[in-house]
Symmetry: C2
Subunit: 433 residues, 2 copies
């Protein structure tokens, strides 16, 4: 909405005026219009490993029992189905190899939402006024970057290396904010800590207590508690099933909100996310949710509670991990074969041990942006990728790198992965030549 409003237009809000189409949507439209295009851009999940039989069995078991069926088809509660929240609390405990006390949590800390995106939105709506500051990694998950922009947040970013956000970078940024008299607007720090979208980098466990200490050290300068949002969407997708403990395990001041989702490890069509939140934040988030939808799809919650309780979920996650591990290897092999000898000092990519993404860095003179020669060439040769610049928030202190690419092997078949990388390599060499 950059045009002046007229009587032919409704009276849009400031939030609407700050809300823009996700840059990736144009590419998704292209992909839909052209089925022969290989998309290594779309963040959809692998079709073959969707739990069609498991969900069928679970749904039938619920819907064939009159009482259970009626409960699943009636209104639920805003915070979520109680049995599911019990299962989720135990699930968090299992992942962190601890108990309720170890997480400082009981069932009232657990919230179920319409995907983890809704929980991201709810926390944002609960905390952020225009001009408030949120710190993220650089790069960061781009859908949430859009949500922050819509809320009017100022986003500042930390440097990352192969072990995730660098604690010293966070410390330096908070010191800079304090020196500029801006740290009182800092509301939250948002980190995607496992197999990050887009970089596939996992934050090293030993950095977690360090980061909490840095926040603690700066806390006295801030008139409210600083929230640490740990987005653990890909936590269960480590190919070898191992993963660092969460921030919550090291959190002695109840400032960590954990966000997880069933979209990647189970099925996005169930649209279920969940979180373990400090209790006062949970209460406020639930009040906001009361305004938005007063509860998440109850049938999906009942199905998922049964999936957890029956062990079907645990079995399925193992299958999903294996599937992505194989597809990741196919992509890495294809990159080695197609780009292994292409300006090797300047062309690098991450080697994920989990998740759905490979983060490719090209020589600095090759622009990967949506209006670049490379992007047009890739399209001409029949493939699309996500330009890396979409994944860097608008940090007023930084210039976006221009030669990165996010590749995903989530949806594409092994053959499509090979063919997509082949086409990308042809385009890169053409542009380089």
């Amino acid at each position: 909405m950059t045009e002046p409003q007229s009587t032919s237009s409704f009276g849009y809000s400031a939030a609407a005026n700050r809300t823009h189409r996700q840059p990736i949507s144009e590419m998704m439209v292209l992909a839909l219009q052209n089925p022969s295009l290989v998309s290594l851009a779309a963040g959809l999940v692998d079709y073959d490993s969707l739990p069609t039989q498991a969900v069928r069995t679970l749904a039938d078991s619920i819907l064939s029992d009159t009482d259970h069926a009626r409960a699943a088809l009636q209104y639920g509660t805003t915070e979520g189905y109680k049995s599911l929240r019990h299962e989720l609390l135990e699930h968090f405990c299992r992942l962190d190899e601890t108990d309720h006390a170890g997480l400082g949590a009981d069932i009232d800390n657990i919230v179920v939402t319409s995907g983890s995106q809704e929980l991201l939105y709810l926390i944002t709506q609960t905390l952020i006024d225009p001009g408030d500051i949120v710190i993220t990694g650089y790069p960061s998950y781009f859908v949430y970057t859009g949500t922050l922009a819509s809320a009017g947040a100022t986003v500042r970013c930390c440097e990352m290396d192969e072990n995730g956000v660098i604690p010293e970078s966070l410390d330096a940024l908070m010191t800079e904010l304090a020196a500029a008299g801006e740290i009182d607007r800092l509301k939250a720090i948002y980190l995607v800590t496992y197999h990050q979208n887009p970089s596939s980098i996992t934050l090293a466990e030993e950095r977690k207590p360090q980061i909490l200490e840095i926040i603690e050290a700066h806390q006295p300068a801030v008139p409210h508690k600083i929230l640490l949002m740990e987005d653990a969407a890909y936590r269960e997708l480590s190919y070898d099933a191992s993963a660092p403990f969460s921030f919550r395990k090291f959190d002695t001041t109840d400032r960590v909100a954990m966000l997880q989702t069933f979209s990647k490890p189970l099925a996005p069509g169930l649209k279920l996310g969940y979180g373990l939140l400090p209790k006062d934040l949970a209460e406020q988030v639930i009040l906001q949710k009361g305004n938005i939808d007063f509860g998440t799809c109850n049938l999906a919650q009942h199905i998922t509670a049964e999936a957890l309780a029956s062990g079907i979920y645990a079995k399925h996650v193992a299958k999903v991990r294996a599937a992505y591990g194989e597809k990741c290897q196919v992509m890495l092999d294809a990159l080695d074969a197609e780009l292994g000898e292409f300006r090797p000092d300047e062309t690098t990519w991450t080697r994920p041990d989990g998740g759905m993404y490979v983060w490719l860095t090209l020589p600095e003179d090759i622009d990967t942006g949506p209006d670049s020669v490379l992007c047009a060439a890739a399209l001409k040769h029949g493939m699309i990728y996500v330009p890396g610049e979409f994944c860097f928030p608008n940090d007023p202190g930084r210039v976006k790198p221009k030669s990165k690419i996010r590749l995903t092997f989530g949806l594409a078949s092994k053959e499509q992965i090979r063919e997509g990388i082949r086409r990308l390599a042809v385009a890169i060499k053409e542009v380089n030549g």
Copy 2:
């Protein structure tokens, strides 16, 4: 959040500070704690008429077909499942006995949401800045009143009679706003037009073109288009299956947003709402939805699309109508028997021809509020109701009536309805004595 914030508290937003617990939540907690309590308060739906077998059959049909199952368990699109949106467009046409041109709509006008509450929220978030004005009926749906308060809207209200909002009252209010120099802040008019929650009153069809003309007459004083939100949640619950045409049928200036839901006529556990919106509003609403959840539970959408396409939905709605018609009669008979001779000139109630509510007016000296002697007496005798004052927005120009009660026969069995009304009558007579 009325307390000053300290470092033990996160930094809550202005929206969070404007968001309060729904007044009805305390009563719901009471009802849960005391199972012998008869609740004529909770807006849940009838258990017996939930479509357990139908949903089982539909879910099994979808989940046993691999391609269909995979589509239902994959990510969907933000605006909703295309086949469902096609079905919904035809459904709107059938209800208004017209075609696409008659509604001025095609599939791009249709949005699917997590219940109609999410659509109410999305429109509010899209249009309302703090201080903007929304006009509603008096009374109005109280959950949405809370959403408007959270958005910082100023709510102004129109008088209603047994045919719904009185057009002259709307005209007078808009004239008052214009005279006060405030009409430029008027963003939307929100009306629950069929079997209104809480009054059960349906807006008479002949008033619809009149109301549109009144808005049109005031439009030149407003720098943006005024939206008319028609909340038609109970549209399909007329006991005799007849209902007025919608505002959209009379809308020549594309200012009407229609909101409907599957929660009442099918199953709230599917959590599906939908709307037919002016296209530019639909686009903005979808951008907001991209921030909130980027799509509604896909499995529920596939089930509901099949319910519509197969005719199962139409059959089920007929069953639901009959069930509520019977339960309504039970409540009316019980009220006649228990309160027919109680101060009859001052004790009245609506006689619904659809929906789930009876709106009871007691003599003016009997306060029905949550802290009233009557409310305590009703609780003591084992029943709860919704105090009518919860259903009146905080209109700065009005004093809330204190002697109204919302009764619902949605959840209660026929026996519970009779017993609940008996207990209420005992409490009323005790308080009166």
